[in-house]
């Protein structure tokens, strides 16, 4: 009899709620009962609310068991878990879970499905197919496909990827670089992490394609230090790719050389800003650079550098495999394709949902998320990380479309959606936006460095009920200054959440004296 395959994710969210202990218990129970199993530590499907989500393969179908604790394992084995037997943790076939079934998985399709550290499994699931195709088609055709797809930077800025690649390709230099921004610092976001932990070879292939397209032989991954598990998985995958000849010289007899260096950050949020990231990669303080020159012309060590977010890069192989037009056929208006939205905070069914642009925030929060975890009404939703505006419950019907969000003074950013119930104090959230900017500002420009500290002070005075109207005007003026005069998005967009609170949640500034 063939060995039964059992999947237990090795992914931060799953491990953070006991997946390692579950895996150990399964191995022990199988040994005790003399059951021959193959334990595979897969990535996460993104249904974080069900973690640890264990699967057993029965007649080619993977049967899911959700929220499994180590203490459940003995009773699961007693209930013929290995044969997909009934148990209170049993959900049913993984592909029939509506949360996963109703997604548009373009970029994350291998996450959960494969063994992240098996290069054979990766290749059995179209791995390196796009890279080989790129070698056949040539760099121009690759850039054209990316441009045709309408893919825009998924890190937050939404700049067209095809234009960026074309600029680097057209710049002559003896050395060029690919820099992958994996400094996913926005609260409420974890899609980069799920991809790196669940499909590291997919990222490696994507970076090699980018390098081939623009003429770069060296790639850097700048990974935040808060992701130790992603670090160990990526490091092992890079090593395996080198051993198998998919990194190094003359990859797959193409004459193309490419290798990847994995660098760790050191807890600075602003290093997610692309030029601060370059400084940090050069071993310096992560201080934002003036632009121009654009990194595409003078980037890392002064050389032309294509800087892309993890998800942007990982969207490319299927654009080559399936065609740019097909990607462009998904989404709405100028927001083409899909985005991996991340449902976080006070939400019943948190996790990653890859959907075409155009879906509304309400659909995601209600249909996928199932409302708040507390069961109380939604009061505010922050989209796009700490620099994103807070939406009111009435604004949730806004379609997720870059331009539609700009119109309401908000941004999609990296696709993080953080839900708050009606117990939230929005004055505290506005204060936190300024406080976070004060803590994380790189200090180069005055509006951000000083403005954020003054912002905290002004908000504190408002909360204390001191000259509320004067301080309100002062805060609006401060927001104007920061927005107009800061060097990068840190100072320039911190006013977004603050203004949204002033506009829609001003009642939370009322102190007890005011209410009297």
């Amino acid at each position: 009899m063939a060995r039964t395959k059992i999947y237990v994710p090795r992914e931060t969210a799953a491990v953070s709620v006991g997946a390692d202990e579950v895996a150990l218990a399964i191995a022990q129970e199988a040994k005790k009962s003399g059951t021959d199993i193959e334990l595979i530590r897969n990535g996460s499907w993104g249904a974080s609310w069900l973690e640890p989500l264990v699967e057993v393969e029965v007649d080619g179908t993977r049967i899911a068991y959700g929220n499994v604790a180590a203490a459940d394992v003995a009773s699961m084995f007693a209930a013929d878990f290995v044969g997909g037997g009934k148990h209170e943790r049993r959900i049913g076939p993984i592909m029939e879970i509506p949360y996963l079934m109703d997604q548009d998985r373009w970029t994350f399709w291998r996450c959960g499905l494969v063994d992240p550290l098996s290069i054979e499994d990766f290749q059995a699931h179209s791995g390196f197919k796009a890279l080989k195709q790129a070698f056949t088609d040539g760099p121009d055709a690759v850039i054209e496909a990316v441009a045709d797809s309408g893919l825009r930077g998924r890190g937050g800025a939404g700049f067209p990827t095809g234009i960026k690649w074309r600029t680097v390709a057209d710049t002559d230099a003896d050395q060029k670089y690919v820099a992958c921004n994996a400094d996913e610092g926005d609260s409420g976001t974890f899609s980069d992490r799920i991809l790196m932990e669940g499909d590291p070879f997919g990222l490696i292939e994507s970076m090699a394609i980018a390098g081939f397209a623009v003429g770069a032989s060296v790639g850097y991954i700048y990974l935040r230090s808060e992701y130790p598990l992603a670090h160990s998985i990526l490091a092992r995958a890079i090593e395996s790719a080198r051993d198998a000849g998919w990194l190094g010289t003359n990859i797959d007899d193409s004459g193309f050389d490419f290798d990847i260096e994995l660098h760790l950050g050191a807890g600075s949020y602003v290093c997610g800003e692309e030029t601060a990231m370059l400084e940090s990669l050069e071993g310096k303080k992560g201080i934002v650079r003036y632009k121009p020159p654009l990194p595409a012309h003078e980037g890392l060590f002064g050389k032309p550098t294509v800087i892309n977010n993890v998800v942007t890069l990982a969207s490319v192989p299927n654009i080559i495999n399936l065609g740019g037009e097909r990607y462009a056929g998904m989404g709405v208006n100028r927001s083409k394709g899909s985005l991996a939205f991340q449902l976080a905070g006070n939400i019943k069914r948190g996790g990653l949902v890859e959907k075409s642009f155009g879906i509304t925030v309400r659909e995601l929060i209600e249909d996928w998320g199932g409302g708040t975890a507390s069961g109380r009404p939604v009061r505010a939703v922050q989209v796009g990380g700490p620099l994103g505006a807070y939406l009111t419950a009435e604004q949730l019907d806004t379609p997720l479309d870059y331009e539609a969000f700009i119109e309401i003074g908000a941004m999609i950013g990296h696709g993080g959606i953080v839900v708050f119930d009606d117990t939230v104090n929005m004055a505290q959230q506005a204060r936190f936006a300024m406080e976070f900017c004060a803590i994380e500002s790189c200090g180069k420009c005055t509006p951000c460095r000083i403005g954020s500290t003054r912002g905290v002070e002004v908000i504190d005075r408002m909360i204390a009920g001191e000259k509320r109207e004067d301080n309100y005007d002062l805060l609006v003026e401060l927001c104007d200054t920061m927005e107009d005069a800061s060097l990068c998005a840190m100072g320039g967009m911190t006013p977004y959440p603050v203004r949204s609170v002033l506009k829609y949640f001003a009642e939370d500034f009322a102190s007890s004296e005011d209410l009297e």
């Binding site: 609260s187 050191a266 975890a373």
Partner: protein
């Protein structure tokens, strides 16, 4: 945690080819192993990498991860960012301060308590990192258990 000795510092520098552009990675390696960067190490790194002391000092003080004081035997980080705030991290932090009898960014009874701004575990908030391992869905009762386990582990 111990203080890094001179020979080990030199070894780590050599492991990175004594390249000044790898300063952040060198400091990273030291802080992962020893928990902090003493002033004597700053001087030694400046010398061995042919940088000014001001350069090295600047980098060390810029990044939150590069502690310049010796931490406790255990490091407990509690996420202070929005997704965790939405699930009660402010209250959880107050509780941790009370039971550990230390404030944020302080060390006492062998434990250093630190804020962290997002562990990327936002669908399982609130999140806590203890000695480099991330935990999700942490309420007060679970924090008690995690801290007991931490003490038991030594």
């Amino acid at each position: 945690m111990a203080e890094i000795d001179q020979a080990t510092t030199s070894q780590i520098v050599a492991q990175y080819g004594a390249k000044p552009e790898l300063l952040v990675q060198i400091l990273r390696t030291i802080v992962t192993r020893y928990g902090w960067i003493p002033e004597t190490t700053v001087r030694q790194l400046a010398e061995e990498l042919n940088l000014s002391r001001a350069d090295v000092h600047g980098v060390v003080h810029y990044y939150h991860d590069f502690r310049t004081e010796e931490p406790g035997r255990h490091i407990v980080k509690i996420c202070q960012a929005e997704a965790c705030q939405a699930m009660g991290s402010r209250k959880l932090t107050d509780y941790a301060r009370k039971i550990l009898t230390v404030d944020l960014n302080e060390t006492g009874n062998d434990v250093t308590l630190e804020p962290v701004y997002c562990l990327g575990n936002c669908a399982c908030s609130p999140a806590v990192m203890i000695d480099g391992k991330t935990y999700g869905r942490v309420d007060e009762a679970r924090l008690d258990v995690l801290l007991d386990n931490m003490r038991e582990a030594g």
